[in-house]
Amino acid sequence: MLAKRIIAALDIKDGRVVKGVKFVNLRDAGDPVELAKRYEDEGVDEIVFLDITASNEKRDILKELVRTVATNVNIPFTVGGGLKDVDGIREIVRDGADKVFINTAAVEDPGLIREASEALGSSNLVIAVDAKWNGDYWEVYTHGGRKPRGIDVIQWAKKIEELGAGEILLTSMDTDGTENGFDIPMLREVVKAVKIPVVASGGAGSPEHFKEAFAVDASAALAASIFHYKKFTIGELKKYLDESGMDVRLG
């Protein structure tokens, strides 16, 4: 059986990890490769790099990052952040990323989903979706959560699947940063609406929260700060899930 995946997210700016990451015994806590390797050793199943570099050198910086990670890290990794066109996406896969995610560009031009999934193979293309409850429905946001789009996340998820993407990375803006748990009602509805894997993101604060996400059939669950700040280790989390009867990859 396929294991439920635990994903660690790293925010990258100018080739460096942002948000203070508190690992002991790291020579350089801002080095994305060293951090990614540490997470691999701890047993994480996948790493997502969100690049927030805004400078003109973005493309070169990202290329260098992807190549270095691909050489040194031996688990799958996903890269995204500000990607707009098929050429840029293809280049990242060629440099060694296993998957690429897009967010705003997919909403602005849904045709890009079809184009990119045909160019890369759908298993390589992830669509990141940020959404928030507006009283009537979960509304899709873009531009890093700044711009409401008037789109219902359930409809958007179905469209993403139809256009050929391989996976949805679903972040709840309501729960993100709260550490009170994933947005289970939204997650449950999105998982029910599509057949492609859905990754839960936003709000993880305890091992129980991961169990809740997997109980509604999320294929994977992502967290950043709780792993960075060592609230609990990935090993502890997986041991808990294993004892709860879930299929997870242990050491």
């Binding site: 691999e40 031996n74 896969v93 298993s123």
Partner: protein, 199 residues
């Protein structure tokens, strides 16, 4: 004693971590292939397309396999061992007997971490426990004619399940359906086992 390993370059994807672990040389030069002691066929792409881009070196690979050189096929690289595939029209290397089928009745591609169920001992799997997880990304799987070569299998599917060969071995030829280079310590161990094979 050291052996020269070549990693065949199909022009897609990044092979730097396979190179790092095996100490191999990424190449598609026929002289390199002829000189090598071990050949790794990595695995990204489409069966037909890759066989086409391999056409100039196809017989060098077949000869090397016949001479008893160690060959490791990864994912599509293993599928190329067989005569034909439902994925494309091209003819495979034909160094193993059988064919390549598409998954039916299960969600494809099969992508993620799944268990290797070991049927019997194999030098490639030394030090790797039965039930270990490896990372898979594929929609097709191999069906060897003689199932004796199947040393490991994997089960996939929810209501309907498929058990497919995930490791095959016949003499000097080894194939794995998963990506050892993406499978953390178990994968590194497997690549190290291949590196340490001696004649």
């Amino acid at each position: 004693m050291s052996f020269d390993t070549v990693i065949l370059d199909f022009g897609i994807g990044n092979l730097s971590n396979v190179q790092k672990v095996t100490g191999g040389k990424v190449t598609h030069d026929t002289d390199d292939i002829s000189r090598a002691d071990k050949i790794i066929l990595p695995g990204v792409g489409n069966f037909g397309d890759v066989m086409e881009s391999l056409s100039s070196v196809k017989y060098h690979i077949v000869d090397a396999a016949k001479e008893g050189k160690y060959v490791l096929g990864i994912c599509l690289g293993m599928q190329l061992f067989f005569g034909n595939s439902e994925e494309g029209d091209g003819e495979g290397l034909g160094i193993m007997d059988g064919s390549v089928k598409r998954f039916e009745g299960v969600r494809t591609p099969h992508i993620g971490w799944n268990r290797l169920l070991i049927r019997r001992e194999c030098p490639l799997l030394q030090g790797i426990n039965d039930g270990s997880y490896f990372y898979f990304v594929h929609s097709y799987f191999v069906q060897p004619k003689d199932t004796d070569c199947v040393v490991g299998t994997t089960v996939y599917g929810e209501e309907h399940t498929v058990r497919f060969p995930s490791v095959v071995w016949e003499g000097n030829i080894f194939g794995v359906q998963f990506h050892p280079e993406k499978s953390s310590n178990n994968g590194l161990r497997l690549l190290k086992n291949f590196r340490e094979l001696s004649t």
